[in-house]
């Protein structure tokens, strides 16, 4: 029965994609109208511009796919359009609708969306066979490392909110780690394809009595993991204070090695090493300590910074940092309840820096659980479709590549939303497609383009010659 999904004839469903994309655009404009009516009592004056630009570009993207990647998965584009559109509408509500665009603006985000969609189209058009990327694993590895190290260069790197992960290009700033992770996935996919057998077969069994506990890899096969681990810990955590990227990259590595070898011992060893290092470093890295305390003791008065501690220069929040963002975000989520306050009805401005990671709490406040579930479902579906592409494709490299990218999307969402909902400490990553920021948006659309191309190649019916072999049976339905 496990063969059932592949036995079905492939379907294009391009019209369903068009309809769903149109609904996603409609939802975006609807959200803006609702925000405008609720806040200012009038239709948003720039609605037409947004409708034409965002809607037009999404529909163009659809026709582009219809033409150049007709067999690709029909859900990918509508899901991305919905998430991007919701983010756009929320930014409009946060900045344009309140008349204060000092923290950012939906117009900038719209222009960045347009640029990202162009890059998306270019990749879908020119990268006909994603497996050609398999030829350059080490170039990809070096470029990933260079991109990650770029912010450390004095004069070029910038520190924003305690993490040194930005590069100043003069006219704009970039977050190179967003692109480094894609390069890393390509490298890992290529590397795993060549080293899969060694990594998955050579092992020593560890037994306690007669019970097999786990397969221990040979020490020399641990080298790639040791390199990855050392890099994540030393460079990202100690030098750059970028816990989010470090966690993201290391877990992507673990996920991909697991996909390649099907051995849980890699995950056990990797997680032990990573969290062991974090525990060992805990007393020495002050940034770590602040993160942990603002997470575990978020509601402590001196961590939150209530009025009595405001003027006390010795208190925790005055010297190290406070948990106001997290706590206000939780209050906003609670305020939202089941159906939320409606777009424009809440007060998301109470949360500091709400446009970045905490845009999720703004959604929670204004759309409630009912709306946030749709957002989460869209993100989950995106990852699920990615994994399906990995299952459907026949080449090992594409399998690794697609599963790596979808894991990256899923885990990134988990890291952000886990942080906002106080499940894990705040680490500072962005929800794919939704949050403000050009680098994050661009890298999300690049990942989407890669998935799109891979799904097109995987779902495309095989050439006729193979069907004549007699190996495939046509079963009457």
């Amino acid at each position: 029965m496990s063969e059932a999904p592949t036995a079905l004839p492939p379907v294009k469903r391009r019209n369903a994609e068009l309809v769903m994309t149109l609904v996603a655009i409609g939802i975006t404009l609807f959200a803006m109208i609702e925000a405008g009516l609720t806040r200012n009592g009038e239709m948003p004056p720039s609605l037409f511009v947004y409708g034409i630009l965002f809607g037009g570009l999404s529909v163009l993207a659809h026709f582009f796919i219809r033409f150049f990647a007709p067999w690709s998965d029909p859900l990918l584009l509508p899901l991305a359009t919905l998430l991007n559109g919701l983010g756009l509408a929320m930014l409009w509500r946060l900045f344009e609708a309140t008349g204060d665009t000092s923290g950012g603006s939906a117009m900038t985000q719209l222009i960045l969306t347009a640029a990202s969609m162009v890059v998306f189209a270019v990749i879908v058009y020119f990268l006909k066979e994603p497996r050609t990327l398999q030829r350059y694993p080490y170039i990809m590895a070096i470029s990933a490392v260079l991109l990650l190290l770029l912010p450390l260069i004095p004069g070029l790197g910038m520190t924003i909110n305690g993490a040194r992960q930005w590069v100043n290009l003069g006219f704009t700033s970039l977050q190179p780690s967003e692109f480094a992770k894609i390069a890393l996935v390509i490298f890992l996919a290529g590397y795993m394809v060549t080293k899969r057998d060694v990594l998955s077969l050579a092992s020593k069994e560890v037994k306690i009595g007669p019970v097999k506990v786990l397969d221990l890899p040979r020490a020399r096969d641990m080298a790639p993991m040791a390199v990855m681990w050392g890099f994540c810990i030393i460079v990202l955590v100690i030098l750059m204070n970028d816990l989010g990227t470090s966690l993201l990259l290391f877990s992507t590595f673990l996920a991909m090695i697991y996909v390649a070898t099907q051995r849980s011992s890699w995950i056990i060893i990797g997680l032990t090493a990573f969290f062991g290092a974090c525990t060992a470093l805990y007393p020495f890295v002050p940034h770590f300590r602040v993160r942990m305390i603002t997470w575990l003791d978020a509601f402590r008065p001196d961590v939150y910074c209530t009025d009595e501690f405001l003027n006390d220069p010795e208190s925790f929040c005055q010297t190290l940092g406070n948990s106001q963002q997290l706590v206000q975000g939780l209050f906003a989520l609670a305020q939202g309840g089941l159906t939320g306050a409606g777009m424009g009805g809440g007060k998301p401005g109470n949360v500091p820096e709400v446009q970045n990671d905490f845009i999720f709490s703004a959604f929670g406040e204004e759309l409630g659980l009912a709306g946030v579930m749709v957002m989460l479902m869209a993100l989950a579906l995106l990852a699920e479709r990615g994994m399906r592409i990995a299952l459907a494709s026949k080449e090992l490299f594409i399998k690794m590549f697609a599963s790596g990218i979808s894991f990256l999307l899923a885990f990134q969402t988990f890291v952000v939303i886990g942080g906002v909902t106080r499940v894990i400490p705040m680490t500072g990553a962005t929800i794919p497609f939704v949050a403000k920021g050009g680098s994050a948006l661009l890298s999300s659309w690049i990942m989407l383009a890669l998935l799109m191309r891979m799904s097109n190649n995987a779902r495309k019916p095989a050439p006729q010659a193979i069907q004549d072999e007699g190996a495939t049976q046509v079963i009457q339905r």
Partner: protein, 161 residues
């Protein structure tokens, strides 16, 4: 704007959001069950019977060909039987191989036999003297069926029901 209107707008918006989800579910459904939904509407009652009938001839065939064990038929280990599970079987001289064969012509990790969705596949792991399926030396992973001899050095293995 009155509160009631805004309330209605809010509910409608959430409704539209969920409409999107329902449409997505529709697309996934076609992926799982196939696009033949128009026919179902006309004869929805006969549909389960038909699908059961179409599945019926396939199931026993799958079971009949399903190998249960790997048996050594020639060589020093003749008679050794290995029960098959979903785990891949590594054949070779190395101590950590699943089937350790003491054969001068076998490599440390010589070949792997694994299942891919119920099909069993043999793959040479870059051995010195090669793995033979019948008379042919393996150049790439190949599916094997019950009773087909796989030769590694002086040892011959085959799948049994």
């Amino acid at each position: 704007m009155s509160d009631l209107t805004l309330m209605l707008i809010k509910i409608t918006f959430l409704g539209v959001l969920w409409l999107f989800v329902i449409m997505a579910v529709g697309v996934i459904r076609t992926d799982l069950l196939g696009p033949a939904k128009k026919k179902t509407k006309r004869s929805s009652r006969s549909e389960p019977r038909r699908s059961a009938a179409s599945r019926a001839p396939r199931t026993p065939r799958g079971k009949r060909n399903e190998p249960r064990s790997l048996v050594v038929t020639k060589g020093p280990l003749t008679g050794t039987t290995l029960n098959l599970s979903s785990h891949p079987i590594v054949v070779g001289r190395a101590k950590d191989a699943t089937l350790v064969i003491n054969d001068d012509y076998a490599s440390g990790r010589h070949a792997r036999i694994f299942s891919d969705n119920g099909r069993w596949i043999v793959e040479d792991l870059g051995s010195t003297n090669g793995t033979y399926l019948g008379q042919q030396r393996l150049t790439r992973p190949q599916p094997i069926t019950v009773g087909q001899p796989i030769r590694i050095g002086k040892t011959v293995l085959e799948l049994r029901k």
